[in-house]
Assembly symmetry: D2
Homo-oligomer: 255 residues x 4
């Protein structure tokens, strides 16, 4: 088999070379799932140390020949301690240059922590999964994704003896690209105003329930907030609910 | 380093050989995370095809020398299509013999499906994570673990407009060893009678809430059912709740 | 807050209604991560029972109003025991009809098992992660993705005392859409001929190593096989390598 | 059902109360999977910011009554920024006191990063999964677990054209309790000296291969190092290998 193989490959290469230019035009190389300590801007404490999963890849024009995978790690190491929104463009530019690529992409996924008063009255450290995704090709784009957990308050009077929440209802995943810098805290607050709406208010409980406790209406409410926001140019919002052993979800993309 | 190493090892071996008999007395070898299609007894349909994760290991008396890891797989393959409660003992016995072991252990984890009417009135296929764990040494033991998801009904009148459940509240993990064969269906029903107790009954709503919606009281209620059951000789029950971004749990072991 | 909210929403709705038609045009609803037992066509044994993770979603024209999430499950249950390549189109069609959708999508991910002689000479049950993905909108498409694990043979003479393989090198992920039905077995064989190429042949060991043990050259070799295949109309191949604590990969898309 | 229930429970409680004292004697409550930013001692840089998964639980003497789950979080928050080897005992003591428990347990799992020259000659940030586990009851114990990835060098001459490593061979999991403080770095170095032993040395290649590339012999070599170490009082070592689609492992416990 070893001997015939090169022959077969050569023949295929001839056929291939004719098809190549027209057809096979997307070639990517990259690195995935790199655990990497990063520092994120934090409104209350200036910086927050956290741990990212990093994915980096480039599009290549013709051939894979001569790619040094270690260069991805070298670029990452050069920005050690300075990986954030502001350096994203510079990192992507260095990827394009060092790997002689047509386009560069990077995704950084990390947990972000905020002290919040939830359920009980003492502040807890709540975890929000975030990710930043940037692309550099002819144009330049950067987006931010945030997962906000949803545990709606128990919809009965406070003296019922029931706990404040009846479970993890689901998540609101908001993905944004924006015109100006936005604090992660700001987006989380905006989302939580919609998702944790207090169902205990006495007037028209039924209408409230209908509006707030379906994935469709919650996605709608969030989309309405995002589509009119002056600093947000594109968004996608997905609301997920775990109430039934599997996940139901609704998703809206805009503008 | 290569040259000095064997020397160092030999010296250590001498020290070691004196300590060995007194101290290092637990040596195990095994295989883990083998995906394997199995057939489980099903009360309604006789058998159910599912997919297991299999872990097998043995205790060895003195030395690892001469272990053939492939023998674990050979034993498994010989019982292909016949892996269940009844064959567990035979599989463990063959492990002891073929691997000349002092003791043999096997764990089989699999999802089990039951048609249940939940929330909506149409039957859904509900997934219950199960596992069987067996040991064969001087004695012989077999236990069964079942995870039952908990989504308590919304604690208000049915005409409130609210959905039937407000989220995945948590899980009840029941681990049992028994005197006589027990159907998986029977245990699931027993657990669900406690965990899905209808909070909409009008009398003493507050007391009901208190009793049923804390991990401690739910674990207590389950333990009371299990400790008095004539066919169950040992149990462990753990109730987990996801309402707060992390998991709280309570666990009771008996008898 | 409860009182002001509806007002704000109404104002936004007016703004929104003008933007809606032009901008927010992608609305999806669906279900995710449903564990579901399925039956797959198997070349050697006719059928194979396995366990799928099912994702289903639809695109909606204007509004979410009136969606019954339970209908996804009803459709799935109606095809219970008949979910496979051949029924995919019918399932998607029923989703479009029952949910009054513009487009329907379904993904079914499942492990597929084959008896293979690997490393040792006895047949083992090897697990291959597969997934089928189908879309029905104006046109109709169906694709198949298969993950083939790569454990290249140890590149030295067979009498070296070394084990047959030195680790899990990585995976080859092949994603295909095709003109005619293709057996899963056929694609796996095709991939394994490239990925497990025996490096022990004596001639030009160095060239062989270079060709076969980089993600780029392995992706190239696979792409050459796929691009010339008469039954395959589109493909994507990604080769991943775990040798370094993170994953490196190369990906080619064609034709 | 609601009406009969309390009656049944009362009867069971009577039976139960007689059995309680003799039988049901292990009651635990706790919190699990809390994501929490921590600071770990680092030999080269003094401290290292990382992200832990925290599990905390206590054993309770008689009853669950009156447990406040939020107290676990309060204890954790009081030690925010000071969670490490040295504070472990104080945290456990505070858990016992605040929850009026018989015993307290805490496990902290976190990734630890070290700059290492691996395969290529430039330093990479390598991730090691670590966990600390402490118990406070009549006595007091603390142990440290470290996972060291194993990618043995390719066992042929350096000019073969082959990459430096042929895959992720597996992991060495070392679990220790010790008499004196030991640096994480020290244990990792000790383990890597055994697991990455260079197979390219010319003398007796066959013997080397046999000794180093089986999970049994690698576990033996590690146990020999640990059993004779003056600062280590107890250990467990498990070596896992991924070469075959499932995991094989060997484990030794001592002294």
């Amino acid at each position: 088999m070893g001997l015939e193989k090169p022959l077969v490959i050569n023949i295929m290469k001839d056929i291939q070379s004719q098809r190549d230019e027209r057809f096979i035009n997307i070639r990517k190389v990259g690195v995935k799932d790199i655990s990497y300590p990063i520092t994120v801007l934090d409104k209350a404490n200036k910086v927050q140390h956290t741990l990212a999963k990093v994915n980096m890849y480039v599009n290549l024009p013709h051939q894979f020949k001569g790619i040094h995978m270690s260069r991805f790690i070298e670029v990452l190491n050069r920005f050690h301690g300075r990986i954030n929104f502001r350096s994203f463009h510079a990192i992507l530019k260095e990827m394009v240059e060092r790997l002689q690529a047509e386009a560069a992409h990077m995704e950084i996924e990390f947990p972000y922590f905020l002290k919040k008063k939830r359920i009980i009255n003492k502040p807890e450290l709540i975890e929000y999964r975030c990710s930043m995704y940037g692309t550099l090709d002819s144009s330049d784009s950067l987006s931010l994704k945030i997962d906000v957990p949803i545990s709606p308050p128990t919809p009965v009077q406070i003296d019922s003896g029931l706990p404040g929440s009846l479970g993890l209802w689901g998540f609101a995943r908001t993905s944004l690209s924006f015109r100006h810098f936005i604090w992660i805290e700001y987006i989380i607050d905006m989302v939580e105003k919609v998702t944790s709406h207090d169902l205990r208010w006495p007037v028209d409980k039924r209408a409230a329930a209908e509006r707030y406790l379906s994935v469709e209406s919650m996605a709608d409410s969030l989309a309405q907030k995002l589509v009119t926001h002056p600093d947000i140019c594109k968004f996608k919002v997905t609301v997920e609910n775990f109430a039934r052993g599997f996940t139901t979800y609704a998703s809206i993309q805009g503008p």
